[in-house]
């Protein structure tokens, strides 16, 4: 089997650890990459109790029924993508187990399990200027009254399709992005952050 060090994240070429060691006093945002997450796309009928029960059994997490919300249970979270589509997100270590668990829990149902873990990386953004930076590229209203922790949205960030998930009131966000766009998006955030100050979080 291949050595783990051969595995590269989508933003590895920026050398995030070296960037993280640079001084960035008073940075408005701190940017990092949370690479190699398990991201499993599931489809099914939210009104079918057999389906929701199967999801709960396989993941330990409830299926979020409300649009653009995230349910969390331990290290697993489920993000609402559409009326019949979700992402089950977990650590890399749980990827195979979650996929197998979902497939066997869904046996006999018309559902779908597709591993999309490798297609995306996650850019994490936290800090007092996070909303200011995102407002330069996202037309959604991210004011605390409109969008808060536990909410997610699929939207366009500077013409890049992303899934945005707010995780706390810092505010902190996780930005799921296709790996091919990650280099562009990281550089774009860096450009916008010129006016706010940016620090980088080590891998």
């Amino acid at each position: 089997m291949v050595e783990a060090y051969q595995r590269r994240s989508a933003l590895a070429h920026f050398g995030l650890n070296a960037l993280a060691s640079q001084k960035a006093d008073g940075a408005g945002i701190t940017l990092g990459e949370s690479a190699h997450r398990a991201i499993i796309n599931i489809r099914g009928d939210a009104k079918d109790p057999a389906f929701t029960a199967a999801v709960k059994n396989a993941t330990g997490c409830d299926l979020p029924a409300a649009a653009n919300t995230v349910a969390t249970a331990g290290d697993v979270r489920i993000l609402w993508l559409g009326p019949d589509e979700w992402w089950v997100v977990g650590t890399d270590a749980r990827r195979a187990g979650l996929i197998d668990g979902l497939r066997s829990a869904f046996a006999g149902q018309h559902t779908n399990v597709t591993d999309v873990s490798e297609s995306r990386t996650v850019i994490t953004m936290t800090g007092p200027a996070a909303r200011d930076v995102l407002a330069r590229g996202i037309s959604l209203d991210l004011h605390p009254r409109a969008f808060g922790p536990g909410q997610c949205a699929q939207t366009s960030l500077s013409r890049t399709n992303v899934l945005l998930h707010q995780t706390d009131n810092a505010p902190s966000y996780e930005i799921y992005v296709l790996k091919s766009f990650a280099d562009y998006l990281w550089r774009w955030i860096g450009l916008i952050a010129e006016d706010f100050g940016m620090a980088v979080k080590a891998e």
Partner: protein, 1004 residues
Amino acid sequence: MSQTNRLNTGGRIDRSRVVTFTFDGKSYSGFAGDTLASALLANGVRLVGRSFKYHRPRGIVTAGAEEPNALIQLGVGARTEPNTRATQIEIYDGLVSESQNRWPSLTFDIGAINSLIHRFIPAGFYYKTFMWPAKAWLFYEKFIRNAAGLGKGPTAPDPDRYDKLYHTCDVLVVGAGPAGLAAALAAGRTGARVVLADEQSELGGSLLSESSATVNGQAASAWIADALRELGALHDVKLLPRTTAFAYYDHNAMSLVERLTDHLGPTDGKPRQRLWRIRAKKIILATGAIERPLVYLDNDRPGCMTVSAVRTYVNRYGVMPGRRVVLMTNNDSAYRVALDLANAGVTVPVIVDLRAEVTGPLAKAVREKGIEILAGHAIAKVHGEQGVKEVEVARLSDDGKSVTGSARRISCDCVGTSGGWQPTVHLHSQTRSKVKWDDALNGFVPGDTIPGQNFVSIGGAHGVFDLAACLTEGHVAGTTGALEAGNGGNAGSAPTADAAAEEQPQRPLWIVPGEKPVGQGGKHFIDYQNDVTAGDVMLAHREGYRSVEHLKRYTTMGMATDQGKTSNVNALAIMAGLRNVDIPSVGITTYRPPYTPVTFGVFAGRDKEDFLEPIRKTPMHVWHEDHGAKFEPVGQWHRAWYYPKPGESMHDAVNREVKAVRTSVGIVDASTLGKIDVQGPDAAWFLDMVYTNAWSKLGVGKCRYGFMCGEDGMVFDDGVTSRIAENHFHMTTTTGGAPRVMAWLEEWHQCEWPDKKVYFTSVTEQWAVIAIGGPMARKLLGEVCTDIPLDDASFPHLSFKEGTVAGVPARVFRITFTGDLSYEINVPPSYGLHVWRAFMQAGEKYGITPYGTEGLHVLRAEKGYVIVGQDTDGTVTPQDLGMDWIVSKAKPDFIGRRSMLRSDTKRPDRKHLVGLLTEDPKVVVPDGAQIVEHLKDRPPMTMLGHVTSSYWSPNMERSIAMGLVKNGRNRMGQTLYACWENNRVKMKVTEPKFFDPEGARVNG
């Protein structure tokens, strides 16, 4: 001594901060808080520009955004900006400004000859003179364009930086006058998210020009300060001075431009301007009103301005616009200004009032100051070429159409006129909401709001001018807007002011008669910026251009940067009078964004250069970069195009790469191919419907090439799809077509066959794809992958296996786009670079050669494989491509089948894809060259089609081409001509297969 016309006291300028600037090369000083206009007037400069057409000397007419005359070339070099309004430019130390449209100098201008020949260049002159013969316009145009235009654009790239952002709020208040401030206060107090924007440097609007108004029992300026303090302390209220709301779009979206550093001068590092794209639940338009100048004889002499401008210069800037100011009015507003002037020590020799009788408390107060009022009189002429020197005042006839008796000459250096007020309905009107005529106001006021937009106009913007009423309206609008947006907090009490004294009605007199009939000596200007006179409107009427849209285009009235802010109503009213109809019957031109000009830079923001468009990169992109690849944009992807070695041309590099694939082994990054995971019991059924060929019987572990067609039977995408399991397929699409195919599948599933049990998931980026091809491919793969048997029997062409490649779990597909033995290795992208390197390392002994998209295209063309979108153009069926075999005859239905049965689609002489070989094998014709059978000396010739793909084939050692040619398959062996520019090249029609036509090489 500078600032000769500066009052000793008063105004909102900061007298402790002297600011030095230049105008036309001469240095002047003003105070912080001055506009360029107020500073120039303070220095006694009245002449600031030449008019557009006649090059008449012009001065400052207004004190705001409506300024039609004082257009300034601002700044130098790459930062120079034409047509900026002196009335809106805040001065800063070192500001460089120049007048426009004059040569060699402002006071001596050659172009002023146009003024002498004006009889020969009336309205419509260009249309009449230069349009015949039609061809000659091309000749005239370059001279006319040279003479046209006012300022000069910069010739170097804009060095400034611009910012733009989205914002959402409950209540957006546009305009921070008394009504707007009251609205923002009320809304803000409820806890609503509020934005208050105003185009001026200070918030306060008309109150900034007031001398004696009080609000809540205190001076207006003190109330403004309190209001701003209170608003500033509210967390969810944003105050945006120097911000112009210039465009109102659907769904309550407003675009605003905030000028961040324009008042400081060039600043490096900081953004110069910011574009706000605000979506508000409620928009409150408190944009005020614009005073109309009167239309009188030679009313464009420098020193002629609006009464409100006089008032603003005196009260807000502490500047005397003149030493002796004559006022002419048809309403009461001049009287307050006369009092302000008198209090400031400026002489007002006379107020000329068009109304026959003047009564009321204001007139009384004015008379008590010793100012003479000439009721029923008019200014019949203005003297002073480069600045007002004297006016002639005469008695008006009863019908107001002429002046009678002998004129009285009154010396003065400034004339202020007021023809009433026009509410600033621009933003209202931009929503396509109608305006309606108000007889009392003699102006257009907002009509009903168009459905779908949620806004309200208050204060001057809808014709309410009384301060107390404006404050109340603002408070109500702010409270209501906040409540509608879900904020029920306490809005506090409305600010109060004393009710104004009742005003005497105005007398609409759209043309003030002069000593000579209109158009027969001197000019009655309506639109200063476009040099349109009352005479021009009369000419348009005589010639039949009587509707508002015709009038506008014939005379150019209301065009250019000021968009007729001071002139539209005057022109419409004059036309109405000529047509003897009421003003609303003439109609009003459509208001369009922007309200005032907006620089291109702020629209671009950071979206330029590397950030013009997202760039997509594959997991192996860094390797390609490190190995000198040239890149080619394919959609948003940047794909490796070819890898030149030192000293190699593109031709050399591509030839080397292409030969390597045929002789040993090549490696190409195919990660960009679209990939869609198709799962469900109806997956095979669905593929049968979207592809032209049959899929139900495809065995598990097998791959098949397919075409997708539109309902019209035309090819729109292609790719290889593999059966992973009974109900599970891995579909591939073209790189550029991936999103379109995904949308296509979803559309058919959701709209036509929602009962079918199938799911589609895009997995394009779940896999990095490395394709290795060539005679040594099998051997190489066997060294990097040890758990998949590679012999033909175990792993035949068009099948796939799962295994481990370079230690990484992989799907290996034995498929080819080059015609050679080839494998496409799909691995997780995080290991893509590792696996690529493993192949490069293991393949070194075989001379493994990375190749790019150009080489790939040559290789596939040697085999005659098509590229959808290059060899097809949306009008090509599979049959046209000679691929009838890919269209199922057995399937009952599939998308496009019905269209393929149409007689036109079945016609045997459609354009067919054929091979085209040049007579001279060294000649490579360009893609797009036209195919002609019978040559003529020059076009037009009958064109049979065109070359779609054309390359040098190093393996054939000759050029090869394919093309779509009418009746092509029935022309095999025929010689046709490829034509482009002046070239004519003989080409022979062949089968579109050049290399390895029997297809033996897929077996290695």
